[in-house]
């Protein structure tokens, strides 16, 4: 997940690509986060101008959704499912052990910046629980050994 310093032109280009859509704000925010790893502060006035919405409205939307970040995450994002099906297969123990091993709390990033750990409520992998996702890679029947390997791969 790269986080180059966002240039105004790059932000404007992303905005221009989406303004024709009906309800363009979420697609814009996703595109900005895809490009910069977070929603840069510098984009806020450009978005509010382009969509004719207030700063409060924009802040309201960004802060409402779990996905949007105001600063970059670690190089990898590990999502561990906390939902019921995963709990029935020991998901809670796995999550707690992983957090303890990395020495972070939920939403925390390892000191070397390699991995950010986030809770997720269901990845649709409920018949092969417990489940997790490292960036866009889905993982089923995760145990501590497999988690250890993954974290090592991710450089945590």
């Amino acid at each position: 997940m790269s986080s180059p310093t966002p240039a105004t032109e790059d932000i404007q280009t992303i905005l221009a690509e989406h303004l024709h859509l009906e309800g363009p704000l979420l697609p814009i925010l996703h595109a900005l986060q895809e490009a910069f790893g977070h929603i840069p502060k510098a984009a806020h006035p450009l978005i509010t101008d382009a969509l004719n919405i207030s700063r409060a409205e924009l802040h309201g939307v960004i802060s409402f959704y779990h996905d949007f970040r105001d600063k970059p995450a670690g190089r990898h994002v590990l999502k561990i499912c906390r939902a019921e099906a995963c709990q029935s297969m020991g998901g809670t123990v796995l999550a707690e052990a992983t957090l303890a091993k990395l020495g972070v709390a939920w939403h925390g990033t390892t000191p070397n910046g390699a991995v950010t750990v986030e809770p997720v409520y269901c990845l649709g992998l409920c018949a092969c629980a417990p489940a997790a996702m490292l960036d866009d890679r889905v993982l089923g029947r995760v145990d501590e050994e497999r988690m250890g390997k993954l974290l090592a791969e991710a450089g945590a």
């Binding site: 859509l21 009906e22 309800g23 363009p24 704000l25 979420l26 697609p27 925010l29 996703h30 969509l51 409205e57 309201g60 939307v61 409402f64 959704y65 779990h66 996905d67 949007f68 999502k79 939902a83 019921e84 099906a85 995963c86 709990q87 029935s88 297969m89 997720v120 409520y121 269901c122 990845l123 649709g124 992998l125 409920c126 018949a127 092969c128 629980a129 489940a131 996702m133 866009d136 890679r137 889905v138 993982l139 089923g140 029947r141």
Partner: protein, 502 residues
């Protein structure tokens, strides 16, 4: 040699990509076709090899099994896949093609009955299309079970310059994965269903609001829409009929409440996903204030088969007012988990003991949560309940999206009740006070019970009533359901006998 390997994310999560790499290395001349999953997740990755025109299964396969699979000596051979008990016992209507075809091959889709329904609908008047859906008895598969035909009729009769079809693909309930499976395994059927919906109500634009937690489904759906557009299934001139329908995939942003239709519409418009009061119904004032059909993925994906085989054929399956098939998703602590499509009416016990084969851990079953995080925990004593909308209701349950999560005897039921409240506190949109604040107080009250304070029980029950009565949507309104079911059925676990008896 033809080899089929699923690209469904459950198969990938269990190592399908590694198996495919090993197959390519060992048999470079073989034709490897990626499919959806058959739904037998305990057998994934399930490799199928075509022998004399019949597909033979091998699973669960690992890269080490590849050599034996290719030379026909694998101990993981299962025989012809269609003859497996799990497959043979199903009535696959909605999921007929999933696991069978290449999800992104439109010709393969057509060769298996695809587009027959749409071609038939194009010959029909809009009223006839709605009548067909009504006759089929199809009800919303997202959870509420509202008759689809009535919803379509309302939108059809509304006068407006623009109407919309919105597919609710924000399947956030734990234990449910049918939406994901069909979007990854047979995306054209959802597209076809949306086009038919558009023809019937006079909508020319559609959106699929797809949760961001499903990156594979997003990728498959986006490619399928492009392919359908190039083939003229979508666009200004649907299959040369002169009728228009265009659609787009939109990605959610991690808010569970956006699975509620009015929150979803707000989110699609670029707002906070806050619930709207009803009325006005979305059917009259939905996306951007225009008449909008909001249907779940499975409801829309079932429409093509209704038009292909006829409404009566579909309605002939089922029980009471629950017509057609239900796509059970068997999950959690089970020996055999996966998707099983069958006529309504199968009992919970049959599903858990017979189909699922009991728990994965081998310990006795304690409870099944039916219908996601807002569904009741049903104890073993309730396993004679037949699965149907009204039938489960009578047992204090909720069929919801037909996901079943099984727990063994080690489950701590008070923790599950606490989690229901905690989840509601995290995911509440904040509009209704009983949900926003009540969920937080619920967690605290359950913590008091955990510490042995029996007097907190009536308080928790009272809070549940307030949340049910005072919340606009199902999140605040149904979170009490799992909590109350724990109090009703499992109180002796955490209360001294005297309080448990009250």
């Amino acid at each position: 040699m033809k080899i089929f390997v699923p690209m469904d994310s459950a198969a990938k999560a269990l190592g399908a990509e590694e198996v495919v790499a090993a197959l390519r290395a060992a048999a470079p001349e073989a034709q490897i076709i990626r499919t959806g999953t058959r739904g037998m997740i305990w057998l994934e990755p399930l490799v199928e090899v075509e022998i004399d025109g019949v597909r033979h299964g091998y699973g669960p396969a690992s890269p080490e099994d590849v050599a034996d699979i290719l030379n026909g000596t694998s101990p993981k051979a299962l025989g012809p896949v269609e003859a497996l008990d799990w497959m043979a016992r199903q009535t696959r209507l909605t999921f007929a093609r999933v696991g069978v075809i290449d999800p992104l091959d439109l010709a393969d889709y057509e060769a298996h009955g695809g587009l027959v329904g749409l071609r038939r609908a194009l010959e029909m008047a809009p009223e006839e299309i709605v009548a067909e859906v009504t006759t089929s008895g199809l009800r919303g598969r997202g959870g509420a079970g509202f008759p689809t035909g009535i919803k379509w009729k309302t939108v059809q009769e509304a006068k407006a310059p623009q109407k919309y079809i919105v597919c609710n693909a924000d399947e956030g309930d734990s234990g449910t994965f049918a939406d994901r499976m069909i979007m990854e395994g047979d995306p054209f059927t959802l597209i076809e269903g949306m086009v038919i919906a558009g023809l019937s109500v006079g909508a020319t634009r559609g959106y699929v609001y797809l949760r961001s937690e499903y990156p594979d489904a997003i990728a498959v759906m986006r490619r399928a829409v492009e392919i359908a557009r190039r083939a003229g299934v979508l666009g200004k001139d649907v299959l040369g009929s002169g009728r228009a329908f265009e659609m787009e995939i939109r990605v959610g942003a991690g808010a569970y409440v956006c699975g509620e239709e009015t929150s979803l519409l707000n989110s699609l418009e670029g707002k906070r996903g806050v619930v709207r009061a009803k009325p006005p119904l979305p059917a009259l004032e939905g996306f951007l204030g225009r008449p909008t059909v909001v249907n779940n993925v499975i409801s829309l994906a079932t429409v093509p088969v209704i038009f292909e085989k006829g409404a009566q054929h579909y309605a002939d399956f089922g029980l009471g007012r629950s017509r057609g098939t239900v796509t059970l998703q068997i999950a959690g602590n089970v020996a055999r988990g996966g998707l099983f499509e069958t006529a309504f009416g199968i009992t919970l016990g049959e599903v858990v003991h017979d189909l699922a084969g009991g728990t994965a851990t081998g310990h006795p079953v304690k409870a099944v949560q039916v219908g996601g995080p807002l569904g009741a925990y049903i104890p073993v004593s309730g396993f004679n309940a037949p699965l149907g909308y009204e039938e489960l209701d009578a047992h204090g349950g909720l069929l919801g999206h037909a996901g079943l999560v099984v727990f063994d005897e080690n489950a701590d039921m008070l923790s599950m009740a606490r989690f229901a409240m905690e989840f509601c506190a995290v995911e509440s949109c904040g509009k209704c006070t009983p949900c926003r604040i009540g969920a937080v107080r619920g967690v605290e009250t359950i913590d008091r019970i955990r510490q042995g304070d029996g007097e907190a029980v009536p308080l928790l029950r009272d809070l549940c009533v307030t949340m049910k009565d005072g919340s606009l949507c199902a999140l605040g309104g149904l979170t009490p359901l799992p909590v109350e079911s724990v109090l009703d059925h499992f109180a002796d676990e955490f209360l001294p006998r005297r309080e448990a008896a009250e």
